[in-house]
Subunit: 448 residues, 2 copies
């Protein structure tokens, strides 16, 4: 093939190479057929030399020296900006967090924005794209003025400045964070178009802070303290009660996220992190920790984050985010251009431990194949899975199913519906989530 | 102590709680003495309950309910911005990457900026603070126009679009990146004030891309190919030759960094990653990969990145960044306010494998104690170490010494000077780096 033949077909309007949807549409140079190849990912095989003949993934043979020298090679680049804090390049402006269009929100204060999971590489969500959920907007707090109180059923109430807290020894840990409402629009009908809309209230970071058990040891916990109330300094006074066992186990008071101080929208200057527990328990802009003998029974605990059950009952305090996974590529809104090798990728996670297995179905759940988990596989952290798929061009229904270190297997929505009452926008949707691939390669939400 | 006593002393001008230098200065409320406590970090102990009586880390006893409700609790917060990509809060504007003031640079194109390691939490450097080194400014490349060529001693030259490359299966791996010139101002005299100036050409990220060995298998490597030349599409035409063994071992063509596409200043849309090798080999804005039978012997290989040796000889191709570590807290420019418990923290890394041990000296190298390494400890990646130090108030000289999985022990500058010629701004400084703590707690560069 000559170099001048290497024009890329226009594909969809506004498609950018950073956009995986566009990648799938644009990867095959015109006139070149991708022939399926069969390799076992589990044997660690690579793209074999013989694959060149089939043009796997669209690499083109050329007289390379004939390629023109690009303009950038013949010009001076931009000087380093004065600001000292970099931003993404303009070609990636389409990668952004935003509210789903599936739910109509008529005000800007109890609001959210969702992470573009379809664009995420690796397991770390950049802080600029980390999902948000605010109950009364984003508080902006001067850290020099901020105080954190520990009181209630303790021997000695304590007040901390941020400087006090940052003087303590600290720990850094990778953990996912997921809103309990993630997926609530797509229980029984396909409301969301993209995985950002269906699963984007999910992100992952390395958190740095002080284990709360160290501070409680200093305050002296009275034996009658069984629950701990956390209150934010935002305009909603967001409040949750947490069992003391979780607090003493692995709760962090976090001030660092992915190598820097928390962003305002993540609770700067300090927030609670309860690894693996629903997002709203991880109280942001934390100002008060009160040890009590029973939960506070606020609205968030009696109504908002409880689950309707069969027979008119409600389940309270289902705060652990159970094992779950989703395919992020290919996912809704992408299109596959022609049969050939595609790497199915996605995330798996569990609030109860590590992910031990992810299986992939290509036929709507009739058969399952094992995906590869990418190291490091960490406790209560996103794990990326990969599976090489030779799409032969017919319709397919793809989904992932995760298993965690407790042996729990991610359920189907039907499984969940047998034990819970799935009516309306209920919380805690960890069901298997299918995508349909059409005969022509269009990928759509296949929840039904 | 009454709540109204909790005023923080002004400390240094412009000091912010996010600034660890300030933290060390501000952590003790006036009138409260921090009494040293002795605990073994290696036994996994926590701040003991008894510590409350000593006011460890400055927590203050108070009648917590008397604290006023903060303004932020009584106001609506800010709505989510339209932009969809977040930035740090204004209180953290002092945390930025910038050129060292130690070296005078009279133009803006062969330039660099250094990571504020003293502010970094965890092991991931945020992309906005990742160090930069450009030989002719920052190229801004339209990914739709970009082409990558593999040619030279191959059976079949190949040209890739970005869409081609992103169609391949990929991998994500955590690796540090360090400029070979990191530390060159501070071999034998204390030129740098802060660890950002002395060690800030060091950062760490999770990189996502395609193992180059997969693409070379597709091109078909001829047996006479022994080296591989990499050329950037920037105005410097930055070029390096790499032995084919390294290329086939673990080289990546990376397009993703910390969960998103590369930033412009990191080589968008694609760069080479040679895990553990000096920064300048990791060619950015990559446009050409040529398989050759010998290195190109460009200036960067014969002069710029070679090491003067005793007897007038020069060592070429010392591309592995050998095992190294540095204490980032407390570090130059910080001050300890009063005797008491301080957590010494820092980074250790090795281009030859994993860090297995870090030892800390408090007495200028006479005695050493083992620091704790924080999980996960990954191959050719920053590892954070922690050591609890009860500073009793006298002068101290603190430093860290790392050991890697090959058994290599980080040398002293004196060790290095015995086998190399340390004259002027020579590269590859992996020597032990000491900080002096004065009687009054001021921390300064102790290289001499």
């Amino acid at each position: 093939m000559e170099v001048e033949d290497l024009k890329i077909e226009p594909g969809r309007a506004n498609a950018k190479p950073g956009d995986r949807a566009a990648d799938f549409a644009e990867n095959t140079p015109p006139g070149e057929q991708i022939k399926p190849t069969r390799r076992s990912f589990l044997r660690g095989s690579v793209i074999a030399a013989g694959a060149a003949a089939t043009g796997v993934a669209g690499a083109s043979r050329s007289s390379a020296e004939a390629l023109p020298v690009p303009e950038s090679s013949m010009a001076m680049g931009d000087p380093i900006p004065e600001k000292g804090y970099g931003m993404p390049i303009e070609f990636e402006e389409h990668v952004k967090r935003h509210r789903t269009d599936v739910l109509v929100n008529k005000q800007n204060f109890s609001d959210w924005s969702m992470t573009p999971l379809q664009h995420q590489t690796g397991i770390i969500t950049p802080n600029g794209l980390f999902f948000e959920r605010h109950h009364n907007g984003v508080a902006r707090i001067d850290p020099e003025q901020h105080r954190l109180v520990i009181h209630g059923l303790v021997e000695q109430p304590l007040v901390f400045t941020m400087s006090d807290l940052m003087r303590y020894p600290s720990v850094s840990r990778f953990h996912f964070l997921e809103c309990s409402g993630n997926g609530l629009t797509d229980w029984t009908k396909a409301a969301s178009t993209t995985v950002q809309q269906s699963h984007g209230l999910l992100s992952c970071a390395q958190w740095t802070g002080v284990p709360l058990s160290w501070l409680l040891a200093e305050a002296g916990v009275k034996p009658e303290a069984k629950w701990v109330m956390f209150e934010g300094a935002d305009g909603s006074g967001h409040l949750r009660s947490i069992p003391i066992e979780k607090v003493m186990d692995d709760a962090l008071l976090a001030y660092g996220q992915n190598g820097e101080m928390l962003r305002a929208e993540q609770g700067y200057p300090i927030r609670a992190i309860f690894p693996g527990w629903e997002g709203n328990t991880n109280v942001k802009w934390l100002r008060r920790i009160k040890l009590v003998d029973q939960p506070d029974q606020i609205r968030g605990e009696t109504a908002r984050y409880s689950d309707p059950m069969p027979g008119g009952k409600w389940r309270q305090f289902s705060m652990v985010m159970e094992c779950k996974s989703v395919i992020t590529s290919p996912s809704g809104g992408m299109s596959l251009k022609g049969p050939g090798l595609y790497e199915i990728q996605g995330f798996a996670w569990s609030g109860n431990g590590k992910v031990t297995n992810v299986d992939i179905t290509l036929d709507g759940g009739r058969t399952w194949q094992e995906a590869q988990l990418e190291d490091p596989v960490l406790d209560k952290c996103l794990t990326r899975f990969r599976y090489r798929w030779n799409w032969e061009g017919g319709p397919a229904k793809i989904a992932s199913r995760a298993v965690d270190s407790t042996g729990y297997v991610q359920p189907t929505v039907e499984d969940l519906a047998r034990v819970r009452e799935i009516t309306g926008f209920v919380q805690h949707h960890n069901g298997i989530f299918p995508w349909a691939v059409s005969q022509t390669g269009e990928v759509t939400n296949a929840i039904a």
